[in-house]
Subunit: 262 residues, 4 copies
């Protein structure tokens, strides 16, 4: 049977990324001591040298199918990318995985436990000739924001709302670094108040008062996140976005910032 | 050229709805004195009698293409459905159109004007043998809700958030009735406070204090909407849903209710 | 501390559904011998008698938090709903869970195994005074459709595309019945060809030829699904929708049908 | 009334972007001779110098509200950004607008006219000290792709599907350049066949045969788009992505490429 993909291409264009997208798979994400089953949406690609007409799409699925029952951390992503480079005769490979990740939250007064869902995305690139594998961890962290202007000018009350702080952290790939829980703790401390899935009445009093005592503009949250992210080691760059789903408007207040650390 | 669709089908199944979906078209929605250009997503179907193998899909597009430059109100939807019934030799036709509709809001103190966007959906069904055309108008109305429990138990402040009230109103189709603006006014008066795209500082003070003076659970908003919707004439049934994007949680508070009026 | 929710309400409106929505949780779905970890989006509600001002939102989370580590099948959904009725002093409770579910597919020639993702939704309602619990299983099944008209009128080739067949099956709730895999097999046999995540070259030849030998309009697929679904036992009603993401248009061909069996 | 935003900030962080997001407005997009009403989703931001605590969010809405009835082309975007820089005492301003844009398509044999919808996004940045305004036009162009491998190895037929080619073109901003229709024509010529909303039977024969005569991998389409985009003048960089919604899989084939031209 003809291998049409293997035919010679004359256009002289090496394609930067080719592969499969919108792939859904159950995976296990490794985090320090344990791993968590997740439902991931993946994009998995390699570069295609200019002399080949096409890549072999089924091999991406074969690699993923083999890996999906193993806990996947930073080292395993490196192995997956190495396998892609070899099996697809490429110079580089790229994998991104988006998933909901759950962390346990403890209500501030009652101590009740519950699970908070976070949208996460891990992306990594490996090049055949290099040992290091730069990778990016992106997390969307939901928090409460309370408006300082509304508090100051109003006789009582202050508008507040759910906000999403989106951080993206690019590591140089020399150190094991996917630690979602620590980054969430670091970031949610910069908002007017963290969120909790389960709050009893005494907790609701606590978070209402805490947010009111701690008013922050979208700009305040962003700046405090920038200061917090600068304390992280071994990172190449970070970006942070904060979006407040304003309770008084049908649009959002928005701020964003990127910093290269070395 | 063969007309495969016209062949006889032997399975004995009259299909209730067949046609085209996910169709995007610029339309003009007629509202009393004026009309508004909108970008609509449509589903347009007919029934298929059991003896035919298939309908003629291109005719739906031909009908829509002809209509898209005309202002479309209730009467015109009736004409579109009549045309579908005739051109596709059917007994019934159904059209739904989803679009963002904009209404002008006036800030409560400064008087500044701005446009509020609303997700709307109009659906209608026409049967060959009947004159009437029951139709449904659905509107998602964004508002502010402020929690009575949080206000009562806290020393200061109260959590509040954007909420969406989704109303669906089914008219018997005897009277012209698509009046989006009136329904929005009726419904947003049931929340802790309406939303405004443009608020100056004096307006922000006003809406902050108004929401604080007017705390409402999702259940309160729902019940007050039910009372308000019962005052409408010529309607067959209504449903109302309220969803609060809780500022203290990453999930929503939700309530819904349906009532048949005759 | 005041229990504002428990106050008396005078509006005389018993609310049909109130609770929490857009809740994300990792769950285990029980299917015959085994269970599968899934990432579920839930809506969990009860009715609210007319004399109460509000429900107790945190109790929904407490019930879910307790259940999320247990495999959940039909019986367990019944237990969750019973617990909600008791803990929230209600007459009825409703739970819906949407999740991606994965089934193993075997490539038709090479025999290679891979996982196909399916969007599923389970909904159930329980009433305090009744033993039975009607519930609904909805599955979106992706398949290939190939156009009979295009095949017939063209000198070679035929347009084909991915289609989604959405089935919703309402069981009377007397028998254990959530069997996703069997329903998928039943339904995908009605398309021009099933889909497979992993196909080697010999498999690609097989599915290309199979679809070409088996051309079906959206109406054909729908009718054959209706015939197939009529063979199921113990069901109260079913609905089926087929949507073809036409390769020659930017919109879809669509058909739908509902049948009550008893 | 206090102007909290105007207070001095001591954190020493100049914020790169702050403003409003998820704003929906009806706009008119200017294209050469005419303009088209669209429903746009906007993000509108400025930088915030390090000495200010916050920006003035209502001024963004005031600027947009004033502009929404005027046809907006490249020059007008420049004026909007200049106004933001002035009114918000900033050094730079950024505007992005996403909208569906419609172009007329003529069926290849019957000559029937219909409207094809395209997802477009225009983004521009202006800096106070510079005259030029680099801007980016992104368009998602739906086309048909037909698999060369499937055609070659199968006795008859070939799998084909709808694909989306996403191009992003960054102009240096010296020349008027937003010409959506020309770019669509350039790009859709690189696929196996363009799409048409309205096709009569003779047209369906034409597009079926044309796609079969013109098989292309996702890599072929991408490379031919790269060659086509290199012919454009006055552009700074372009990116192109092609995603095939494989009719034989539930995932997509994907390729992407970026090129800097000067």
């Amino acid at each position: 049977m003809q291998d049409v993909q293997n035919r010679v291409d004359k256009r002289g264009i090496a394609i930067q990324r080719v592969g499969i997208s919108d792939v859904y798979l159950p995976l296990q994400i490794k985090q320090e001591q344990h791993s968590q089953p997740v439902m991931a949406r993946l994009k998995f690609t390699v570069d295609l040298p200019m002399e080949y007409k096409g890549t072999h799409m089924s091999r991406f699925q074969e690699i993923l199918t083999k890996w999906h029952t193993n806990p996947i951390g930073q080292a395993e992503i490196g192995n997956i990318l190495d396998e892609a480079i070899t099996k697809l005769s490429s110079n580089s490979a790229h994998l991104s995985m988006s998933f909901k990740y759950f962390i346990e939250k403890t209500a501030p007064v009652s101590g009740k436990k519950s699970l908070l869902d976070l949208d996460c995305k891990v992306s990594a690139v490996k090049t055949a000739s290099k040992n290091s594998m730069p990778f990016t961890l992106a997390i969307k962290i939901p928090v409460t924001s309370l408006c300082p202007c509304s508090k100051e000018i109003s006789a009582y009350g202050a508008h507040n709302q759910r906000s999403i702080i989106s951080v993206k952290i690019n590591y140089d790939g020399k150190k094991t670094a996917i630690n979602i829980k620590d980054i969430v703790s670091l970031i949610e401390a910069q908002a007017s108040c963290p969120l909790y899935p389960l709050l009893k009445r005494e907790d609701e009093k606590y978070v209402t008062e805490k947010a009111y005592e701690n008013p922050k503009f979208v700009e305040d949250i962003l700046r405090d996140c920038v200061l917090a992210l600068r304390t992280l080691d071994d990172i190449h760059y970070f970006s942070v976005e904060c979006e407040n789903f304003e309770s008084i408007h049908n649009h959002n207040a928005y701020a964003s910032h990127v910093e290269y650390l070395k």
